[in-house]
Symmetry: D2
């Protein structure tokens, strides 16, 4: 197996390289009867595609998705949904110069070690471009979740040292700026910070936060398939992510039990928690609270500033990677985090349908 | 599925509740010809078992493992290995008082929501006691890894606000203290900190670091089965873990590309990296560098200090959980982290055997 | 993986050797809230256990099952159910004489080829004794199916050349005779045939038929997970089975389309088929018709009559396997077929709960 | 899940409907370094495609395959291989007349029961056209097997009542006739038989045999993943197959142990069996003998001869399906059987690489 299949019920199988003919995804296990159109998917793809912002690579890709199977008269049929995105701009650049170079913080070296050779053009399968297929599948997952009124919101929570201030949080603002930040003040500082880095031919890291509201109870399974464990895997599988927190995350390590425990209060015929350090799960199973997670994203590895690299045959190289790359991966990764969260939750949602005998009686 | 099976080739299936008759694990997919004995496994179980330290619950459990199948004349046969640990102390306490109480930061509430009812005795399946089965399986995984000279070392890196100082790092010291800390000075402070919390009927969080040395190249698969993604899932599946970092982790978010990129140098006929911010993988695939990960562990939720809880039927309760619990989960979780890392790496090691056509020719 | 895990949602993981300490099974994914007791399981185990009939091996095994986890106050909790059967009679015989012999039609040779060595005692993991674990898991699967009023009936349809006559079919008679035949006349002939073979130190093959009534619609998935494909795999995985038919089976090959097609008629507000050559599925998906399958079982390979065998080191041997073995495997395999059918259907039943968007709305 | 993913290591994910835009397959887990071209795949597709014989439907489809990913400079890269076949002739017919009709022996009714509605055009996902994707994947599997000199040969062994005579078996003749029969005399009779049926607007069933030579030892795993069990599932998953036999098959049921057991003889430094009733496996694991299996194929359900059908709304219909269909499915299914056998064996071959500790040392 080459690691490109995810999910137990809602299974996605992605494929494609940065500079191949196309990339795509097959979804096996989408329930029948979901209304879906290419426009539903395109909307999310457009948030990820390059060439749209002063803070993103100018590579021109329309990233137009085409549905090839599994939809009939506007609804899913229950059979595999195949989606394809043709690469249109893949021949524009000559990659032969980098053919035998191991660029720092890229997968060139490890792919060669694993497979003996590699498709070196634009990182091949290891390109961030691969995430377009995840976003397409994630858009369908979101549509299922939306039918249950579940809502996923991800946003940029920091760029380098610039962090958002929770007091300024404005959800509506997220989609109104190129960096997908919910805080107009932090945005200004981040833009200024990035412009300086661009001038220095350098790049920045950052963080992404994701909140899920109106989460059904019971998602996640004990032991290895805890909701938080599967979310961590899904989000950490995004190439640039180096850390994942659920709820209180690393702060929990410095807290006492009395500080960290979320107390319960019963009022207005509901059990509620006074805090949400847990981040939405107890024992790995959702309890109806909001899910809260945070991801650390490393800086774009491709920079023009000269670095120490090495060639396959063992020559030390001073490498300056020409061309303009994303000065920060974070904004384009926001919708990818949403997709990975959606894909994880849909799979858990479907699995949880089999958790109780009384559910069988509701269906059969 | 109830989430208790892990792995694609080296599959483990764990079972058992805190206060049931026994708990155990079945391993399906262990290669034939591995020398293994109950003593190999007991050694790790003894590091996790309760009642051994002033900083652990005094529950008396020998945690003696018995191998029931899959071993013949001291070697694995290639067929399932079943291991069992009988619960000996499970009837010593009356849990009926907590039968209908939802304790803060425990799984009581979410299990009831998911399954409609639960085995309430000592948290049932959600008890940390479940990890004994992981440790038993992990000990076998480690034995396979040891045959390839791969070595996993986990240790306590902080208790509450007390962090180890890398300058004081002494690997040998880890196994010589109850808190599994590699820094004698930090240990003293941590012990003092914990004693104060015990007096206040409170508990502490902390962090665990894990280093893997002599890692074979090529472990991990592109996209969803990246080595770091699977490690994150495995470690986050430990009940108390709230965050996982690989390599630079959350620090990466504040760094520039030039700072974060690990440069290459070729010397003495080897390709080396000048730093290891990546933490052992590139594009999710190991490159021979050390794997480095860190986990945040929340404070023990069971504390005697009075908390606000609620009953199943909706009464607000002032809850003081009697009996002495672990004042900190971290030390007993160190060997569990090692187990989860070992289980993940063994599975990737076995999968990687199928990655190249030339490997087929070596075997057939 | 060593092939001992079956199922996608209702996953069973079996373990144990013929002459080890015990054998057992872990079920991961049984819905919560099912009433189950050891007696429910013992009932089926007793149909398989040895020593009960003049036509079965006299090995004494009580095959008493013990449930170790996953049941609380008489109901499944949704967490793994572990069941164990201790081997009580495993030391009664010295197997060292056969240690290096490859017996005809047994797995001795292939296990040595695959694993390099083997547990030779009583065929180790390859013993038919392994099926006790399947029967235990199957009993729980049947209990779920019974809640939906689905009923599985298997029986002996032939012993060597003696076939049952459909005209004599008496379902009640199946459980009243040692050979589990539904036809009293065929039974007499079969008994006589077997007695002659026993005298000649030889053994017989036979067939088993299985009918499933009151099957819910929609079980099975297109392409590879067709209901009939998964049933074929499940039944063919019983060691002695050499062929499987669904519906018309091999007769279909000689028929014309007009003869074979099951016509539809609508009457009394129902769509019905005038025949059932399909055997219960269309395109691999159940349509509410009875499932009908048939399995061919080879003769018991262990016979006292002298055969040509070979030793591991390459000596030709005249082998007479001492001790009384089952003169025919069929009767003891009847309940194993039922178990395999039940396990397959339960898994499909649970998976089918996720097939439609409208089912989500029924549950969430 | 919708049943369109097969395999544990060499995973294939197929998609597409009879009258959609295209159909295809993604292979996840093909080892890197295999030389493969579109021509390798086209060769097998051409054996399955329609319009080539007087005994096949004249639908015009070039079935031209295009590889979209996973191959670089003529070799597999170890990442997913995506293959697509565009449907070119899908709009030539108006299917609206059959929109609400349940045709006998087709999946119309069961798909409606399962999913609530269906893509009715040419049976949608349930069309035999789906097998083109299997054949494409199978061609790559065969290429891997060929590297180990393993050879799979399937052929038509009967058409209706006309069976081949083993004495006339001529392997070279198989590819020289439209019916893929290895016996020129049987061919003549079969052609004559089919011509008569065509005149009567009827169709025929038949059987396919498959022999695998030069099989590596050790393929297959104990208990549920026996080589024969997985072959049975794979072959039974072909829509029209109603029965599968391994080795002696249903004849085994009438034999005695002494007749059925394959005796061993040691000569010329090799262990050999004097017969091969087992059909290539012992205890489900290959021992180096030829694998032999046989499948029963039902008659083509679509016939012009008037049948009794029913509409969705409950009207009884006299149905004559216009247009020329395959008078027999068998010849076009021969290469599909080969594909399913190849896919099963490749997956077992890759899994068996992890069966022994000594194999790890060969690779690491």
């Amino acid at each position: 197996m080459s690691g490109s299949i995810l999910g137990d019920i809602f299974k996605i199988s992605t494929w494609g390289e940065s500079h191949g003919k196309a990339l795509g995804v097959v979804i096996d296990g989408c329930p029948a009867g979901l209304k879906i159109s290419e426009a539903d998917i395109q909307k999310d793809l457009d948030r990820r595609k390059p060439g749209q912002s002063p803070f993103a690579t100018p590579r021109k890709e329309g990233d137009e998705v085409e549905i090839l199977s599994g939809i009939f008269e506007g609804k899913t049929t229950g059979t595999p949904i195949s989606m394809i995105i043709f690469n249109k701009n893949q021949k524009s650049k000559d990659y032969s110069a980098l053919k035998d170079v191991y660029r720092p913080a890229q997968s060139d070296y490890s792919y060669d070690l694993k497979y003996g050779f590699r498709d070196h053009r634009g990182s091949g399968r290891a390109s961030g471009r691969e995430t377009a297929a995840r976003v397409a599948a994630g858009a369908i997952a979101k549509k299922i979740l939306a039918a249950l009124e579940l809502k996923i919101t991800a946003y940029t929570s920091s760029i380098g040292p610039i962090e958002i201030d929770p007091k300024n949080y404005d959800e509506d603002y997220i989609m109104q700026n190129f960096l997908y930040m919910p805080d107009p003040e932090a945005l200004k500082k981040a833009e200024s910070y990035l412009r300086k880095l661009i001038k220095k031919n350098n790049s920045s890291g950052g963080t992404i936060e994701c909140v899920v509201k109106n989460v059904p109870e019971g998602l996640g399974d004990p032991v290895f398939d805890k909701c938080d464990a599967l979310l961590a895997r899904a989000v950490m599988s995004i190439g640039a992510v180096k850390g994942v927190e659920i709820g209180s995350g690393f702060e929990a390590a410095e807290m006492t039990g009395y500080e960290h425990n979320d107390f319960y209060r019963y009022n207005e015929n509901e059990i509620n928690k006074t805090t949400n350090n847990a981040g939405g799960t107890l024992g790995g199973i959702t309890d109806g609270s909001d899910i809260f997670l945070k991801a650390a994203v490393k800086p774009t590895p491709s920079i023009e500033k000269t670095q120490q690299a090495v060639s396959k045959s063992g020559e030390n190289i001073d490498l300056s990677i020409q061309g303009r790359h994303d000065p920060v991966i974070v904004p384009r990764a926001v919708v990818v985090v949403e997709a990975m969260v959606a894909l994880t939750l849909v799979d858990l949602l479907l699995k949880n349908m089999t958790a109780r005998m009384e559910y069988l009686e509701k269906i059969y």
